[in-house]
Symmetry: D4
Subunit: 242 residues, 8 copies
């Protein structure tokens, strides 16, 4: 921006050209908060591609553009078929089969100091936890994962109290009744991000049961993201990780 | 029954009279399980009057008939107005203002050996717990109550582990997210009866949230009754208390 | 505990060591009810593996660990493909195709005295009933099964009144409108565990209709578990079977 | 119609007048089934006024017009306040306090031969049953009512089997779990009209539970009307009563 | 019964034997309406097999038993695969591919006089209408079908007013918004049975939209059956067809 | 903008000042459509005050500001109590008791040529229709209202076909099953705005039933607004009225 | 009509014949708006075939009849398989793979002056937008499409303000949270037709989330059609495009 | 702890006394994270009393105990009646009538550096925003509030971009369609806590609409708390405010 204005002053560009520039200028230059986001993103996490509902070609086109800009790529809810196509074109692409994420690292990301702890209630919640983990790691976070510490065997949770104490942010991923978020929320003063999963059957209604559980959490310090939204949890955790 | 048949054989009653008797005979005599229920009820818990939706006069008429039969009376969801009317006619009537129950004791009930433990997650769940308590006590059970041990301060729950160990059946009453049932279910091998309450606001949807939580409980040994159904929990607890 | 403290007093261990010991002390040593649960489980029913949402490899790893500990294995919601893999590794594994359960018996289980009666409303409810049956039998219960006694032909139910009278606990499995639980609850003073199933179509909403029916059951002595949760019903029935 | 055309031919009325007549002719004359309805209504049941959401003045204006036409009046969901106003103007008006119906009989209605049997599961369902009863009686039907025969004490239902056999149509009014409709449907080959009521609490969701129960009824010969729609049931019962 | 008692009096049977007899007496002897139902069914419509959720072998076993008893067979929700297997064993079996019904006629059914009219709102509702049609025809009814007369072109409906006038019962099958039932109900004084279908998308919620429409129908004389329940509508229509 | 840049070039303002200016530039200067909206509103309809959830003082403060600006005032969902307070301060205020609207006319509004026709299915839908009517009239539209032409007596609707033909836009207000929108949509090529109302009971679920009906409307040319949103319908009708 | 009556007067036709004529007179002759609709349709948009739920043969039969009448054909929700069959018979048929629409143009459609702008929030919403686009173009509208301008990057929306200003009607297609409709509604005084899509996962509940968002839109001038109903939006947009 | 052990070693206390001490030792001493919470709470925010469902006496008893411990008191969802009683006993009690909060400040709270920005979409959302504000201020946060910046007039939001840039955490409170959270989430890289409110009518379903909107938010960095849960949002915001 400064350069444009200096060029204008020095006569290199005309008034009309400056006006035109300002018009097409990315809004970031106009001072929208979006700028920070972009900068943050550029440093922390690249644009994310939500693959569901997009054709493989659309996904590839978006990746191409991002790779051209040398940004890091994170694609979520990407099934194997998409990855196979992507891999052929971008050999650096890496796939996390559980998380169904594709990443292409083109830039180094600055490491954050604090640790993010990701807990799951059961084994079946792992895919969503992995999506959160991949996302947070892409954004420069140190992630620790402890899986299968659900409330049916609450002593397993107490065994990891040191990890709880030593982390900055906690992500709790749980399906079925989702009570783990309440327990963890009651045990710690750290911010807890609760992710309901569609794991379960019958009256879990594809994640509605844990979603409601988590929204009604009587322990303070617990917030909620969409069902199966591991990405959203990982992203938010990174935002508030110091 | 035997007497009728013997009287018939000895000629005291005619064939027609016997046939008629069999027809009007309470179904219990025909061997329906209902008989046991009746007998059980007579010994354990009297017929219960669900007051909601009944006029005061209807409630009083039912009580009159029960008192005439000398059975114990338990009326639930009875507001103060009903009680005041009942009290005038049946001075022995007792009211539990929190539980909104009226009881009239006309017979002694045989005491059961085992103890029923009733827990609530919060203070606001107490009315439903009291309904369960009144019901179970009417049926001859020894009831212990510990209120406000919700998961937001889980150490309060651990403080009462002795009570958990020493009871036969546990009733967990919880609104909001209802996670207490899962925790208790995970801590004990005793049968747990979970009662969701309509306590809470917003996405608790008048008890739907804890209901779903409890139905999806990943700890074994937990069953569920209707929202705010303290009576049902107390009754079932008595059935399985040894 | 006493020993540690005595050792400390006698100077065998330092203050720091004692403090450390108290910190890492297994929670069981603090007397949590969980211990009893474990012991109970070891005698009654082995750990259960809920297969849905787990990869085949995860299931096999869990079984391996359990077999190493010589415990009995019960895996639910296991489709044929899982069983085929399991069977190759654990030739003792048995499959109940209707129930979709895998069991591996490594220990003898002590038989209980009382009988558990399992009823279904229709033929399509049998898979869930079989899951309940397999579970209860694994825990040492004598199980009797009567299928297809739904309310559309209520005389079929009355034909089995002897079985109802002679059992300790009754499990009622019903889809569609789920009214069978109410009828059985009205006929008997035995505890009834109602299992709604996702059998039906249209306004049964995959089990919501019978779930609501059963929760609103106006007969006393009926509790409810999750839709299609045969395992939970069988487990609870075993807990309260004398 | 014939008269108009003959008058036109004979010159008594002009072409324009005939065209005008045809235009404003009640659609009944064009042969729509609606005519029969009107005639049927005139003989069987007068127009019905659904009071809820109408101002008292609106209700009174409608009644005035009907009384002027000498038709019978049936107003439903009418609270006492409305009746008091109506009574002052139409002294012949009669109120059924339970049913919340107002009727004014201006014409004799032809009696039907068959009998309609109205059953309720509980005492609290009576208001809806009374609305059905008032409606059916207004339309010339012989109505028999048996209240409080719910499935919790199914023997009460068997005591009335003669009434079931001797009636033409059966209306079953039930709240809570609504299972009575299924039982009655299973016991009889008579058409059964099921009316769910909003009686109950918690997971009855103001009538949703019995509504779903009744829609999923596995007994044949059962149809359903809206929650608390006693009028609709009484009306339909009259239509099919012979 | 009389004989038993006389034998007892004359000493042929002991007191214990009489008591035992009374206990096991078939309920039919007590005169339950169920008997009449059976007789009615034998004359009108054979037992119906709901195929969904049953294995092919279960379906075939049930058919075998029915054929042995020489009753007519109606199987609903039967896909082609089931039919192919059935056809091999019972060559007389007929399949209605749209209705997904299998019928085997072993007895002649007495024809009823009145006509049942079946209307659908759209082309996609035809399968459910065909199920109703097959059912009603199996029970001896004369069925007339008019498809695709939905409210978007209401004149099509008026074109068939003669058919409406000449029928005894009308079945309206409609998905999407289900308004056809209201229109037909407003046009005729004949009993209307409304069948919501799961046809539609988005906010039709698999039939919930037309179900609610039909339940709230402001025209009198309309009752409702479950979503896609063509069988239930056809059966009920036959019951009330004169 | 040009001025700023020229000042910068001429040295009147520094580089930093230009950058700052660009940052805070009001968006209106960028020509967003919002401006047009404001102008449109000034000519057509004044700002609207949704009273529900606002304190009386808040409502009055907003009105004061509007009156100071000499704009017309429309307040919706305003109960009598609010109006009484408003009337004291603004004697020109007018109240429509059915619509629960307050209007204060400070400017003349230009009349539109086309006519908006507002239909209701029943008498109870009138309040919502009146809200639509008041709104449309405030915006300069000629409004014609025909109430109580629901589908239960469809001939009433045909009687007003001339009004349908002569109007530009049609608003259909209907509760219960909401079928009127479908019928009108099928009869006309005019744009139809459907307004579901919370009129009804039971399975109308406070307007959900007609909302779904209208969303699934199989007649083309029908759009929907929120339950009871007469204002929204009147506003949109005015937008598309020519 | 006049002719018939004159013929009758002059004796050419009998009284019975006149009566018969009046009965069968096409409703169009009575002046129903439906006629206009037909004419409008013939000029603007041909009949539309909703393929879902129809067999391929049914679709082809309908197309045949339409082609015979020389009208334009629009078939929606048509998968590739249907198109392939149609293409063989009607070589002029064109397929929009994203929109899943088949069109056959047999007549020229008169062009409208105004422009319809179609916006989508994301890439995955494009299929529904394309359905709207194809529909509007078939009806003679000039359509402009801008995809992927969702609220996550709101500056993209501001870049197209010129397009917003220069269009007559705006269709907003959005899944997930559907907030785009509110933003656009707040920015413009043009009528906005909001189309929720089933794009998303978890708590989007297949389009329920954006549907509710759009119905509750606090910006005036926004109406809603069914989830994924691109056709309905395109059709309505054409109706109100000048 | 160390002191106890040293006293034991030195013989001041017996072995039994030490064992007893360890048993009753607050769990905090065992190293549970709960300790930190308590300490944090003591410094930041006192225990919170959720008044709904509690009797006035219960509220007062809790306050008494807290005041005795000299902690700060925050009571939420407290209506005026409760405050009046509290005020008499605790003259220092302050009431926020909009927020319905009671606070009693007994200790100074350490101020945090960062600012929390609270936005509401409309005037009716203010009570929930005030609850968040009171909570955050009690915990030592600098709170800035900007009300009524909903998406219907999105320029109002852009006017406050400086406030957005200068705050650390943003709380967005919105009812109706709740789109504001998406917009703010799209504009900023700051963590956004979205609070749906029950403001609205019809299809807002008491807050379900904005809840779903916010859960499906396509902008990253947005998390959600329960409907109307201003307290939870304020508390979480304080946790992550630096």
């Amino acid at each position: 921006m400064k350069k444009i204005l200096r060029d204008y002053k020095s006569g290199k560009v005309s008034l009309e050209e400056v006006l035109q520039k300002i018009k097409i200028l990315p809004y970031e230059d106009l001072g929208f908060a979006k700028i920070d986001t972009h900068r943050q993103l550029r440093k922390g996490c690249s644009e994310t591609i939500f693959c569901k509902g997009k054709t493989i070609n659309q996904v590839i086109e978006i990746i191409k553009q991002m790779v051209k800009n040398n940004t890091n790529v994170l694609a979520t809810k990407a099934d194997k078929k998409i990855f196979n196509r992507v891999k052929k074109i971008f050999p650096k692409a890496q796939y996390n089969e559980l998380a169904k994420t594709i990443i292409i690292k083109n830039q180094k990301v600055k490491k954050k100091k604090g640790k993010i702890l990701i807990l799951t209630a059961g084994t079946s919640d792992i895919p969503v936890a992995e999506e959160a983990s991949v996302t947070a790691e892409m954004m420069g976070n140190d992630v620790e994962k402890v899986y299968d510490v659900g409330v049916a065997g609450i002593h397993r949770l107490f065994d990891i109290k040191d990890k709880i104490v030593s982390s900055n942010v906690i992500i709790v991923v749980a399906g079925m009744e989702g009570a783990l978020a309440s327990i963890v929320g009651g045990l710690t003063s750290k911010p807890v991000i609760a992710v309901p999963t569609s794991v379960g059957y019958g009256a879990s209604f594809k994640g509605v049961a844990p979603l409601l559980t988590m929204l009604n959490c009587c322990a303070e310090g617990v917030v909620v993201v969409n069902i199966d939204n591991g990405f959203g949890a990982g992203y938010f955790a990174s935002l508030i990780n110091r």
